[in-house]
């Protein structure tokens, strides 16, 4: 009886320890990150918030740095959207990675978080979309180029190289990809616009400014 009791105790201890270890390892990357959820969309592992964090509406973009439609949206729709809604404090914006297009896509996403470590996430993000070339995986976003982009933004290269080479944000990017899939985002760019009362509108593709305007104006 005693032996049985000890055995059961050991098994229970192992199970509890396993749960604790699993929980602590999965929460490593969430340290120092606020839990941010808009409607059904978790952006905790996504970009920092662009714009007024207390704005009543949030736009979450799921994108890939090698996606040419994301490039089109970045250059055609984003400028008037930011000018009229983000800069005026009506809306804020978060970018979450859905890096699936090529082998360099996850690496580029990881590099953006390495830049975030040095407070330059959005500068790096913009630099990537301004530097995108039309061909996927042709080398424009390989490790050397990603480091060159960091250098051109005056980042501390020792820190950046360590971060990128160690794969520090591999799990974070994968988490974001899984989150996108859970939400049913199956292409880039996909947007979730979450309003003040929790109402949520999904927009698929590089839709023009007029569509965003109509959706946002209906929520304000």
């Amino acid at each position: 009886m005693n032996k049985k009791g000890i055995l059961i105790g050991i098994i229970i201890s192992i199970v509890i320890l396993s749960v604790i270890v699993a929980y602590s390892s999965s929460s490593v990357e969430t340290e120092n990150l606020d839990v941010r959820t808009y409607g059904t969309v978790s952006t905790t592992m996504g970009s920092p918030i662009m714009g007024d964090s207390s704005a009543p509406i949030t736009i979450v973009e799921f994108g890939d740095y090698q996606c040419h439609q994301c490039y089109n949206w970045f250059h055609n729709t984003k400028p008037p959207l930011f000018q009229n809604y983000i800069d005026t404090g009506k809306v804020n914006f978060v970018f979450v990675d859905l890096a699936f297009l090529g082998r360099d896509s996850p690496k580029a996403a990881q590099a953006s978080y390495c830049a975030e470590d040095q407070g330059k996430y959005w500068e790096y993000h913009n630099h990537l979309y301004n530097s995108q070339e039309s061909q996927i995986d042709n080398g424009w976003a390989n490790s050397e180029r990603l480091k060159a982009f960091a250098f051109s933004l005056d980042l501390d290269m020792e820190l950046f190289d360590d971060c990128l080479d160690s794969g520090k944000y591999t799990k974070r990017v994968q988490y974001n990809i899984d989150e996108a899939k859970k939400l049913g985002a199956n292409g880039t760019p996909t947007f979730f616009i979450v309003g003040p009362d929790g109402q949520q509108q999904k927009l698929v593709g590089a839709q023009p400014y007029s569509v965003f305007k109509q959706v946002l104006d209906s929520m304000i």
């Binding site: 089109n72 250059h75 297009l101 292409g187 880039t188 593709g205 023009p208 007029s210």
Partner: protein, 158 residues
Amino acid sequence: MMQTLKLVFSNYFYIVLSSVIFTFMLIGLLVISEYIFLDPYLIGHIPQGTEFGFVLIVILSILSALVIPMNIYRINILKKSKGKMRSSVFSSFIGSIAGACSCGPIGFAVVSTFGSVGATALSFLTNFELPIRVGAIGLLAFTYYTTVKSLKIECQVI
């Protein structure tokens, strides 16, 4: 050339067939290539820098709508070989998928289903979207030329 077109499209069936092919190809490709959006509002736009892609889709749709019915006519009326038909359908298909596979749901499904092989194929189709479309249009134009020529001979069009 006009005589040959008149010969084929004097039959109402081929006009309808041509219109259906043109409409489905044009609207389908414009939706897939994100020139037209259906949800949440029906809207069309041509982003800056993508005008050439738009023009290629229109040309591809027009040529497909001409060449495919002409070859069906050859097969139905003249009982000729299906060689040209195969080449015209092949060109239309290749030209279509070149732009369809990109960052959208089709590309995502390809990568999710076929993994790295799918990603490589997707990259190829995306990277060479415009040259592939131009090639498909070239092949369709050539098929159109040879079809008109053979119809002239086979139907003794003056």
